[in-house]
Assembly symmetry: T
Homo-oligomer: 145 residues x 12
């Protein structure tokens, strides 16, 4: 049974509380429950991790090698600044799909570019929590091929 790691970067711990008019009121726990349901339907196993620390996220990517078949990654603010995280995404032999709740490009100029997109397997963004569900489908479908 394929195994998927869902990896959340900085500030996603506050989902549901932080700027709800932008990010919605769904909490990380509620999101995880929706993901678990869909994973069951798609025949996948899930594990999840949130961290505010770049180093922990990179460690998690390496720790996933040989153990999971794909990664959903919402890099939060590191999307725009972390060459180290990008290098890790490029280095691990596992497909990584980039996920955002919103359209970061529609905000400040420093959110115009993602360092991750160029090395990721795909990108889903702008649909709120549905972004994760769609990305899980994409990854499951890719893993099965």
């Amino acid at each position: 049974m394929p195994r998927i790691l869902v990896l959340h970067g900085p500030n996603l711990n506050s989902l549901g509380a932080r700027e709800p008019e932008r990010y919605g009121t769904t909490t990380l726990d509620q999101l995880h429950r929706s993901l678990a349901e869909l994973a069951k339907e798609l025949g996948c196993e899930l594990e999840t991790l949130q961290s505010n620390a770049e180093g922990v996220l990179i460690d998690a990517l390496y720790g996933a090698v040989g153990r999971v078949d794909g990664v959903l990654l919402n890099p939060g603010g590191l999307t725009h600044t972390s060459v180290a995280l990008r290098d890790a995404v490029a280095a691990v032999p596992v497909p990584v799909v980039e996920v955002h709740l919103t359209q970061p490009q529609a905000r400040e100029p420093f959110r115009r570019t993602s360092l991750i997109t160029e090395v990721a397997a795909g990108l889903v963004q702008g649909f709120g929590p549905d972004s994760y569900l769609l990305a899980l489908r994409a990854l499951a479908s890719r893993v099965r091929k």
Copy 2:
């Protein structure tokens, strides 16, 4: 029954023939058949249009108002250059989801920025023809809400 317009911009007529190592071998017809199947499953009606002309795409967006509930738009090369198409996406009171087969940001510098993303309802890219299928799901789910 919700109705979705699938709108393809310049050069997508050559899908399956143009740079297959980049865009894959699925033709536009095959893609339309897959979309039709999924639409049926999701209980939507589809209509599709491909044009190499910016003006025709803008006309199609206005023509869709009051007739369709959402638009899937792959703007092709206009993604990066057409303020007029962007203005049309912003002007029509219909959600428009941006779709790309590949990750355009991973190519030339002039593909780094999309003029469409800031005014679109969401973005799915990098999964080949599956990008369209995921975007159709996203749009169907949004329309139903």
Copy 3:
């Protein structure tokens, strides 16, 4: 009797409906009626064309040569991107006055510069539909000299 062509670019078909808080509620038809009244007062004949297609606008500029004495041009989103439209404005031996309903420079960075201004005979912007009326006066006065 001098003859003036009023040329509207992309998205101006939706005038009155699109973002009324920005563009007002006057429709293109109402604007044309006001222009016709003023033209009568100024002793001019008018013809009008709106198109979402760059090529149609360029064709219209060449088609106007030898037939009209001046052009009012609202290039819409093409203001900022179309070197081809600019070249046409520069090429036709007819004065072209640039018109905008709003102050485009007060919006996104990509609206800071107009490719048209440098080759136009003048510019009126920011007065809503009145921008057209003022520009018509300017053109009529110039044509009479």
Copy 4:
């Protein structure tokens, strides 16, 4: 009876003498006579001031509050450099219309952007002295609304 302040910035004292092939041969006095005639026709009262000093222009804007109904402002070279003048235009509760005799954008790169446009009520440029006359019409019409 509405009252309009016509405010000329640096170097407009030399109108008619300075680079006549660019700015024409109309002097500031002649321009003021034409404006006075049109003001009479439109039922407005005018007052005029020219200064080469940024501070005097800003003082004039504040001095106009509660006394005039609109301002015609040709900021001259300050158009491109004065954040302080821009702040004053934004601060006074009076509509300010920006006027230029020529198309400044068609000259050196440092004339590409106006700091004033984003906070002005409108812009008329490129018609020589007629730019002022058209702007006076625009302002009179706006004040009457």
Copy 5:
């Protein structure tokens, strides 16, 4: 017998009339006659198309596939702005030679870069109508190899 498509972009319809001090007085018809003569000498068949519409030019490139052996393309103002035309040039399995009458780089900054050159088979510019004749030779020689 090899077959060559000569494709002219926006504003080339006005050749001979538009800015003759820059573009010369040869008209498009005269240019086509010179090309026809040389084509005969080189043993090629020619067909020609001029359009002010980006979409028509892209359609023409796809329509040429399987029917012609090479394309001479003068993209006019689209040279500097059309990612869609560039993508079409890159997509069609036919060599495309870029042609300009003048040296566009010697003009405004926005003409410094051509989006077409990187994907074209070659470039000839600056020789007026002779640019086309030289490019036809180059293409004929390449097609014969």
Copy 6:
């Protein structure tokens, strides 16, 4: 007893009236009264000057030499544009503390950089009228050392 000059640049005359949602409703007079109270508490003498003219502010800085022990300077819009004011701040042998009511960097791009900060003794901003009070404390403490 140490003597401090409080120097306000362009547009601060309108404090309390101009954009109160941004700058608050405290007037310059009220601010001066609060400063006087604190000055008394800190054992300082104050003098204050507001001018919309760059030259007057520069003159005031030179006039302060040998007479005051420190300067509080809110340069208003000159913060971002006046090399001459910066040169005066650098030239006078008196510590100058830069003060802003708001966070100018959070506004338009041309407010990102202060020409004054690099040559000032310190910076307090974002606390409304309290910015001045804090800066007065800082200066008093520095002068006493």
Copy 7:
């Protein structure tokens, strides 16, 4: 009694030892003692944390929610690079005042811009350890309102 968190970012552990000609000889311990004294005078409680790790600082900001009434943050080198820290400052419903010992803008170009300032409640910089004391006053005054 209001409670304030003093948060020091990377390299502030070396205060007093690192480049004393730039940062002075006061150590972090001495600074904490001065802050404690002033806090007592102002009737506040303090807690302090220094970390070289971005993730720890972000965790501390979230951990402060519901427990403290304001935060003094010296983000060190993260000032200029951490979108994640900025997002945390923006996310927590607690006022955060940015503090620097020096004027970072007066150094290398990459220190010209602070990602934190736009989302902070205020900024005090350039006064050495006094920057913290002034910022504590500002925060205490704001918390009491």
Copy 8:
């Protein structure tokens, strides 16, 4: 007998006192005495003006028309920021020679470009007070031709 105006911009009042290691210890009075001596030798009459106000300098340039034969201008910090002063230099029918005591380009990036040089008759810089003396020779020689 030819008449020369020596015009000093902002901060030159402090010559001899301000940053003597950069600008030397010669005062403005001493400089004027040296200039007077050389003027006598060259058979010129001199008048001098220093002002910290851009508007006063522009007025002085216009006031010089018809009365003096050349201007020595040290624009101080306005060199890099004043489009209005540049426009005045370009407008007056009198040759203006730009003078600097130092090499401004060797300092901060915002001193890299002079707005004055492009419209001045010549430039002498880097020789301390000798820059003025050399420029006076240049102007006297030019005036005599």
Copy 9:
């Protein structure tokens, strides 16, 4: 009989050996033989020079004045960096045609712009050794006019 100088810049000595997959296997000698044949057919005399030294190329341009009727110049890497070579091309009263074997713009960013094109009589590039042959035709035809 017209006389043409063929001038090769840095690194063209290694033609045929250097990166043959980019520059082809034709050597400079073989290229010269092809040029000689075509020159004979066109009734021209040729002389050729290759140098890796900018100064030698500039000397050669001046040495050609009064002796040759046109120059074919492949400036190699100096294309993008040598203002001195550009000045020489602009200075000599002889038409100079720029030639490149490849499309330099399709490579690194620093090859995007040619300093030579703006002052050259024309440009042929991208056809390998045929670029020279076409340019010789262009020059011969121009010289005969």
Copy 10:
């Protein structure tokens, strides 16, 4: 006996596995063995640390003070983004030599600049694992002086 700390930043844990065509097949363990051998020959003691966390690397630099005589630092992706790490390198009174296996400048634009180089004692890059060995020699030689 001099003591050297070898500090590896993010992603170097995967050395030998990650993109071997770029980074080679030597693992971190094998590299450490080679370094140990050379250290013995040079009479140095080594300690090594790899971490994916910026904060841990900064802590390690401060922890090294007073205990080691030099540091070899391969900052991985932090090379281009970490002002905090740069500040630590500048702060510690120990020479730090920057090491890279490859030539990072030859890759994406965001790898063009190293924030570390300006404050490091030297740089060795491009020789694969040999980069470390050479840097160890350099450091040993410097420490002995």
Copy 11:
């Protein structure tokens, strides 16, 4: 008796012939005669060298050390491109005065900045051949001090 080297860079061999409307009709020989006369008057000895080769100019600067007391350098087009020449000017313990016949900044953007000015002892430009004479005076006066 002080000895001065006059060093002319690329293209100055053609003085008097090249673009006389820009550079005048004085030849290098005539200029040398005027310089010789003035040198005699000032009690200096001159030597002169013109070369189109950067390396020769650098060699000449080193060759001048210990033999001449100052250098007049017109670097021609190398002004804007040669870091090597700049390094030589900075390296030799002899004052070097930069000279230009015209105002290079008033031409193309790539002539905006001089690499030489920052390391030169002074700059005289814009006076045609008189620039050299003034610079000779400046150097003679400096050498005598």
Copy 12:
């Protein structure tokens, strides 16, 4: 026995005399003696060349083909400006190691980027004359493999 060419660019002739506080007091001769000793130890033969002329350095690179096994190149100021030298380094089938005595990136902005690094086999910089010795080791080790 492997043979190495040591190639020094502009201004390295003055090593030991030029800015000794930056470049040290070792002369080129002393450096050559140290290199000769190490070469002997490593079993290599050396030849050395210094030139201030770009063309001579390029010639030397081509002259080295087939005769030497590696090149040590210190390009001096050409590092940042010479596309021609870069093309030569890329063209010759011999490994070239780039060497600098200092860290050029720590100086002026125009020294931030090396055109050579991307095509060199490796880079050693910042260790003074030791940079050459380390680079010789690197090259010797590479040549032996």
